[in-house]
Symmetry: D2
Subunit: 415 residues, 4 copies
């Protein structure tokens, strides 16, 4: 009799195929699980392979809609980015995948889940914290952190030997020179030859963006509409879309063509290591700029400032660290959603050889901006004398600071 | 006998020329002051005009070096930006100009200072708060907030009439259709035809950047070196520079050619109005991306996170609001400078049609990043079992949250 | 015909009585308004006096319930305090009063409102910002900031003369040696002889607390129950209360007897001046300690930390600065309310000569605390080895810092 | 030959005595280490016991001065407290002890350090993170997290048996019904009978404070002087002190007598568990209130607000979590020290039956507070008309919010 049933996150690759066999060898029954978050996979082949290797079942679930609607669009509402640049593509997909895997585990009566994440990365943390929160009594098998496994399979050669021995089909005996992870939001490239942060990734690394230097000489303009901070429509040359996944994919397509959304960074992983990551995220990049721009027009200044400092910063960090399913994420999101209630309007953008230029923005419903009021020439509804008072009051405290400096012998007028 | 001596910020334009005459008419002696922060001016003509209009003296001071060294480079160390995009070009120049004007006022024994800022803008606040802090007993004459002045000169026609009557030479009777303010850090374009935020600024608005769509088809690569977060050298095709102002101007020149650093935003002014501003800042844009990137390699994760949330956010807001000379700016800067002590290294960048691409970064002295450690393949100095414990401890709190949700009847595994 | 109708905040005192007459003299019709937020007033006399002085009407509105339910209890949920000590008593009452005054103004078709606040205080700001937000087209008459008024009535003598001339009854010709403002939440004492911050307020200043040094030698114990962070019941020797206002008043009564809730501080007013304020707030002090304590038992650690840093700090500052009616207050409150959903339980307190001692706390519904888990002796559900991993991962980053210090020649082991 | 030398934190108690013997049994040479941070110990007996049990050496180091000067006084400058109440007594001592233990380990050529901390507490984390940062290659033996040890010694009986077998003298075979940890800053009481958070600790638990209910009927007044936020002198009935440790001990003595500084809380440990802790900290409590009060008089409002939100919050959390030796602690402290430069003056306090009442404060050097300016009666140097402008400008943004609410059909004037 089996030790129990394991729901294994299975991609069909060498690592998880070996893990599948190893789990069976260890006495578990295995249900394989693969989430469709928009990546390209030979879905049928993966399924066949899983079954061939001994999985009781292969579950493939299409999560694209919940991924875009719940995670990607929330990140857009938040202007989320980690450490000033990273749009969190991988981090956004993890909660949706973990959740679906827990659904599968529940349906299939699995007491265990397993995955092929390495012991040094962020993803193991993201997956497992999600598992434990969704189902606190779940038991996780993480082979790459289990000495029994990682000491036996130290290095690719050992895995290839095991694959040969176990009849696991291997398409190529050569490892890719870097690792990739794709979903609708982005594709990531890291490890291998990318580990030297001084070396520019070769052009053929990138998959979701064409080379900006070879992008079309003609720009393309897109108009994006938002309701409550959520993208609700895009208009582009030749068409328009308002269904969320279709709209998102269309932006990926247009963004890809114009080479929009590449970054190459050194980032701080949750577990204390620095790593170099390259990411291309066309749709997310376009949507972030559009949303950020619209907020300039429609969001109150103080709400924006507090939101930026607390919610944007915290939400991004929480997502990166695998804390999507956490009370603190829910906590900050309550304020975020309030802030987005009036983020309604549209932004016109120009895509051109890697750039997203804002051409203009407008809102039919929101009135915080008024050209009349902003105008230096008009004094309607504005008393310039008020500003004198405003400055006078602000200066009370500052004058005392000036006097302190004089007293300390520091001359503020010196360079 | 005169009412007193006024040090007037004088640009030679219609407004400040009328103010100069009006101050004399009001019984003041006027010393005109003009700061050189890198803008293009017919310096001699402005001086002649001031004297011709009755100024006792015209003082022109070259502040470029202190502007770059003290303000622009501090902003780079800070990755400063206001509301997610604005690099603070105008805000950075104001403290340097105000300080020099106060020096001039002191030397020339002026009890008053005056300026031509409008009553709705940020600059009046920035100048005056700086004046009052540097010299708490200074008296400010702000004609555009003085009913005696603004009611008399309601509209450009009234100014032109007064100019004609007072013999003030006017080069053009037509107002520019927008207003501009240039310095080494950027040029700003606002008001007039730019007040409709839906309308794209015409291409000929921009002065410090060429049209990215018409920029060279050949990219140009630049390497920027930093010591303690300060740019110390740039190497570009055909040369290198290490003197701060020369280096900064060179980056402006290269950035201009490649159309780097334009933004078009709706921002929140300190006085509570929203306004539309367009800015081009080639050197600042290039330096910000380079510095941000280097920090990925050399800055501790927690220092970075706290610095981003607290120093970057606050410093940017303070500068925007005219609080450079304030105890709180000095307060946050003390931590900032500590954080920059190890920001040493170099970043390679590619400029191309509006883009600044990071090609790679390295540091000879800093060791926080280690390819060896980051590598998924190596387990030297790393125990994967530790991560299991790390996740276990992190999950203690989250499992309780999961149990609460179950108890509340909320199924976290549902989309 | 009148210039218009003014709704005047009228207390019956010398200042507002003179203002009432002066407004009539200036050609306005006056409707007097007085809010009952729990202070002691000779309500009928005030009304008679207003009518006698020419007010068209006197409106007295009992706001105690909305004051406690909406403001005081929200402050409790927030653990609100300004600058580490002040429980915001005055600040909490202002929004409720301003709102009721605007209702009165609306009903009575007044286009103007007026008040007797001085030009240097916080209250003018709090009232007027509330007025302008609730009804953006309201017009405010602030006599103490109107040169026509304050130059005419420079000093108490001038007011007394005017009172004599206008037939305004004055109970005492001597000004109180300090000013007071009372409501259910507290009484404030400032100005006059309290302006020297080195001098201890005389014992007879305090009205809502008895002298702690003379309080009963017997302590009194109270149990307070909370639901969603809101006090729902108190049990005290001899009874219990669950209606909000009654409960609040009872706590004031018990707290008064035991001398609980006095503070004497120098605080920073919104308008940039420092001032000395003395406040006694029995019920608020008791409730704050109880709520803070219960949160220890039932609130998630991360939610608490973020809430403290962001909501508690900001909400308190906003209330102090008169920004209750603002989008940013609403923004932060959305998260606050989420955080309070599970703040259910009860706290036992001991009141004794100025002290509020916590005796214990419990919750029937919340399970975040577990004596079993906390116990050092039990290893059920806890793997001590996990902590080794947790520490190992945390130390990765810190070891690098240690190595940097060594390299810099700084020996961290030296004192 | 020995496996190596271990520097063991040795208290003379049952646990660390057993650990000492066990380490020797395991093949290590042991150097025992005990820090004097002001607790009461039979120093000579502990030393004799260590040697008797086989330690090569016993090192006792007096750290009182560095503990007070570097840690306690920095906490005072910071107004540090964790989760709104806890003054961090244990957390403050740990860095000083860990540092001295590392010095001892270095002198004694130990490659290992060991301690008797349990696997569920904060102290293991605090000690070990300090060890690893100070000397990244140190190796830590944590017996209570080593299955070899904790499985063998599961429960007190097993330890007592081992003690008997090894000839370890045991003064009492009964465990104390709670655990304690004392230093100059406080004594902590937790675990055992204190684990039920609903039950009040028995009066005899407390050691550093007398029962406030039985404290003297006569109050005692103390004046505390600060320079740069550091306590430099106390004056009390009968004397004065200015040496830091003496001053601190004197405050502990006076505070003890008046029952000052007890708290009883449920707190969040770093490792994700909630625990109940009782602490009495007389001197720290008195100093914190005094310092907080003085800052009201001498600290700029904005510096204070930012310091409270970022530095106070973060520093306290870092210390609690064992991150004293960390770049982020150093980062925030740089700003803190700047903020304290002008915190000069003195505060008069009254101690009475558990209370610390502020009687008044003054500063000879600092001038931010001015009774003249604060006075409502004086208009020197103050233009009330300025406040009108200030309010006018503040209301611009708020009026728009009010208009939005109207448009949304929400009547802000309704309760």
């Amino acid at each position: 009799m089996a030790k129990g049933r394991v729901c294994l996150a299975y991609s069909g690759g060498l690592d998880t195929s070996c893990i599948l066999r190893w789990l069976i060898e260890e006495g578990y029954e295995v249900v394989a699980f693969l989430a469709n978050v928009g990546q390209d996979e030979p879905w049928d082949e993966v399924e066949k392979k899983a079954i061939k290797l001994g999985a009781k079942k292969m579950i493939i679930e299409d999560l694209q809609k919940e991924f875009v609607d719940e995670l990607c669009f929330r990140a857009v509402q938040c202007n989320a980015q980690y450490e000033g640049r990273y749009l969190l593509g991988t981090s956004l997909a993890r909660p949706v995948i973990a959740r679906a895997q827990m659904r599968a585990a529940e349906r299939e009566k699995c007491d265990f889940v397993s995955h092929g994440c390495t012991g040094k990365g962020n993803d193991q943390v993201r997956f497992e914290l999600a598992f434990y929160t969704i189902r606190p009594d779940i038991r996780v098998i993480a082979p790459w952190r289990d000495p029994k496994f990682f000491e036996r399979f130290a290095g690719r050669e050992a895995l290839l030997d095991y694959a040969a021995q176990q009849g696991i089909p291997v398409t190529s005996t050569k490892a890719k020179p870097w690792s990739m992870d794709a979903n609708l939001a982005h594709c990531s490239y890291e490890a291998g030859i990318l580990e030297d942060p001084a070396i520019t990734p070769p052009e053929h690394v990138w998959t979701m963006t064409d080379d900006p230097l070879k992008a079309p000489n003609e720009h393309e303009d897109v108009t994006i509409s938002f309701e409550k901070g959520i993208p609700t429509k895009i208009v582009y040359p030749g068409g328009e879309e308002s269904e969320s996944v279709t709209l998102f994919k269309k932006l990926n397509e247009i963004g890809k063509k114009h080479g929009v959304g590449r970054i190459d960074i050194v980032e701080n992983r949750f577990i204390g290591l620095k790593s170099r990551g390259c990411y291309d995220s066309p749709a997310m990049t376009i949507l972030r700029w559009a949303h950020l721009d619209l907020e300039g027009l429609v969001l109150d200044a103080q709400v924006r400032s507090i939101r930026d400092q607390f919610v944007t910063h915290k939400w991004s960090e929480l997502l990166y660290n695998g804390m999507y399913f956490s009370p603190e994420r829910e906590f900050v999101e309550n304020s975020l959603l309030f802030a987005q209630k009036r983020v309604n309007g549209e932004v016109r953008l120009r895509l051109y050889k890697g750039n997203v230029f804002v051409l203009g923005r407008s809102s039919e419903t929101e009135k915080l901006y008024s050209a009349e009021e902003a105008s230096m020439d008009s004094l309607d509804n504005f008393s310039p004398v008020d500003t004198t008072g405003f400055i006078g009051i602000q200066s009370i405290r500052l004058k005392k600071y000036g006097l302190q400096k004089q007293e300390e012998g520091e001359n503020l007028s010196r360079a």
